[in-house]
């Protein structure tokens, strides 16, 4: 089994509820979302439609609406919801107390 390389990215309170922050990585920007009920998700900050920055969208339930053309992306699966088709990569997230980690191994293995 692949070794997960968890990297600390900050704390839960760094992200506003129903909001997102970006994490810069060698792979490009990762958008880390916090929902109304404090679930945390990470996906590439790149809409499958025309590359819009998903981190800038409005967060509702476990989904985000892209600010460019209103595609709705599921934070759980990375898939476009509704009539649109497409998907964005999801990145594993771990919450330990207040601290947040993302699995960098996933990024590294993708780079390989």
């Amino acid at each position: 089994m692949m070794k997960m390389n968890w990297v600390s990215i900050g704390t839960l309170s760094d992200i506003p509820r129903r909001g997102a922050r970006c994490v810069s990585t060698p792979e490009g920007k990762v958008a880390v979302f916090r929902t109304q009920d404090d679930q945390v998700y990470a996906i590439d900050d790149h809409c499958p439609h025309k590359g819009g920055p998903l981190s800038q969208g409005i967060v509702h339930g476990a989904a985000v609406t892209c600010p460019l053309h209103n595609w709705v992306i599921s934070l759980e699966t990375g898939k476009a919801l509704g009539a649109d088709e497409g998907a964005v990569r999801t990145i594993p997230v771990k919450v330990e107390g207040e601290r947040l980690f993302i699995a960098l191994e996933a990024l590294a293995s993708r780079a390989a």
Binding site: V7, G10, I15, V23, P26, Q56, I58, H60, V72, A108
Partner: protein, 816 residues
Amino acid sequence: MTEKLVIIGNGMAPGRMLEHLLEKAPDRYQVTIFNAEPRVNYDRIMLSPVLSGEKAYEEIIIHGDGWYIKHGITLYKGHKIVAIDRTAKTVTSDHGVTEPYDKLVIATGSVPFIIPVPGHDLPGVLTYRDLDDVQAMMLAAQSRSKAVVIGGGLLGLEAAAGLNSQGMDVTVLHVMPTLMERQLDPAAGYLLQRAVEQRGIKVVTKANTQAITGNGKVEQVELADGTIIPATLVVMAVGIRPNAALAKEAGIAVNRGIVVDAGMRSNDPDIYALGECAEVNGQVYGLVAPLYEMARVAASQLAGDEAAAFVHMDTPTKLKVTGIDLFSLGDFAEGEDRQEIVLRDAAAGVYKRLVLKDDRIIGTVLYGETADGAWFNDLKKKQTDISEMRDTLIFGQSYQGGAPLDPMAAVAALPDDAEICGCNGVCKGKITSAITAKGLNSLDDVRAHTKASASCGSCTGLVEKLMVLTIGDNYNPAAVQPMCGCTTLGHDEVRRLIKAKGLKTIPAVIQELEWTTSCGCAKCRPALNYYLVCDWPDEYADDYQSRFINERVHANIQKDGTYSVVPRMWGGVTNAAELRAIADVVDKFEIPMVKVTGGQRIDMLGIRKEDLPAVWADLGQAGFVSGHAYAKGLRTVKTCVGSDWCRFGTQDSTGLGIRIEKFMWGSWTPAKVKMAVSGCPRNCAEATCKDVGVICVDSGYEIHFAGAAGLDIKGTEVLGMVKTEDEALEHIVALTQMYREQARYLERIYKWAKRVGIAEIKRQIMDDGEKRKAYYERFIFSQKFAQVDPWSERVSGKDKHEFRPMASVGFAEAAE
């Protein structure tokens, strides 16, 4: 030769009579109406929704001023008739107008019964009868203090619910042991009391009011058992009696009401009476359906059809309090020869009772679930023998014949002569045939052509189902287009309920209005955020997570994720220092593109999000503030050089533009607002395609609005002409505030204006100085909280997290 028809009173019954008469004999009479109330004919049934804030007065008008003009009817508003001279055949008003008649119709309605206890005439004791009463109650409710409603009948409970919605602490006093005892049996009365109490309204039954006391005004109500209830407002809603005094003085036969025959004619053959003041066969009526029937009969008689006759009818009673479903019909007293079927579901708050005699329904009480009311009413009316379906009768129509429980199927199964709209006596067949014959596809059309659901509106759901059944997908439920997938409510209902229920946060709206999602969606949240900002400027905390990214970071997102920045240039005027500062910023941040916008501003495009605060800091040093080029708010006021430079300029258009912009910047609006001021009719600032525009002329300022030059192209409408700059500003501000309060989110001014009507906007802004002033004041109040430069706030550190990455990770590891 036309005969003279004079009508005393302008309520719903004579209004309906005129509609019929104009249809049957349009040219036979020259009509004059005397209305003691200073207004047109409005829907009195809807006073309760007005009181609770769910509707505005404008929405309940049946005949606007235009209707009277169109039909050549003379309406004397605020004229009370004080004498009828039957010999000379004239009537005389309290203002001294004397009008001769060939035929006279008395429709003076009823007067509320006042219990003659000591203190009944103190200031603060009101009745609940007309719009004046409602307005007085709404005014009293502003004090947010205690109200006592005497009377636990239909009117009293509606008044109590309305005052409760307005934020008052309300107690209902009812002399009988259970509420609405004339329409409900004790079990349903108890359920009703519980529901009323759950809304925070106190109910005291068996309450015998002894006195109302206070020093110069109402302070408390005393009951016979010694209880004292503090109150600043007392509403008496204990009943009505026919207003027949005028007829009596004129020597017309009066018993409880004005005695008329089945043709609505009094003992003077040239004088008719109808409505609540009339007594037919010993009966007086207070519900709208029989009154409308009287109107139909009277109109036929006046048109020459002497066979038209009024027949007694039972009318179902419904309570118009949002969230309480109640239906009562006929006779439900117990008796030897009667049987009853009862269904109780205490958990669901449902109670149904049918009273049978000889296997026929004679009475029905439904509480909590009233969908089958129309069907039971139909069975009763037709005296249908129910012995075959007796076992399942109480479960309603959809259970008969094993049909599934589908409301659509239930409506489909109704016979053509089943009554759908009780208020207007409209049956199913009339609605469906009108839909087909006239090609109707909206609720408004059906209301206009058939009157179904046009009075109390409680059968709206049934009418909509009929439309779906008749025309399927062609039914366009535009009137109730929901805001988004999270709710079935439309924008207008949501806006109204936000105010009516005093909802002041997005979670409160989502909870109270029963959204189907946990935290809304990207469509409804920005709309709700705007409505709350607009309605509660001092109390609502703006929810940035519900704003579109542009309004969250105060710049415009571009296709590559960078932003554009537009500093404010008041009226489009700039100078060397500002231009130099912009040039320096462009160099320093290597901004790839600089462009002049259509609204006379300079746009810098391609700025990285992280650089925004630094860009704003440098622009701020030069005195720039945000140009709000990203906002659903005031964008730009475009100007020409006006009388300062132009040889044709008539006024200082540049100065006025700057003044408007400085006054209105920072305000949030339903959609973007672009304005312009031109110094002469050559109109170089292109003011006649803007949301709001001004054309200066020698004699003053012509104010325009509702233009468009985008998706649609539309020239402006003229709001009106004013003489001074001050007036121009006040009118423009008031217009904008009216738009802010009424429009749906993302609805531009021209679309809003088309929906509410240019004439109505002109009436409120140009003609009604008081209204205009009130809009103006509310705008100023809201600006106290809105005029904060968002750029300097963010330069000072607000929302830092927006502009920085949370972390930068992986680079070291990747290098290893």
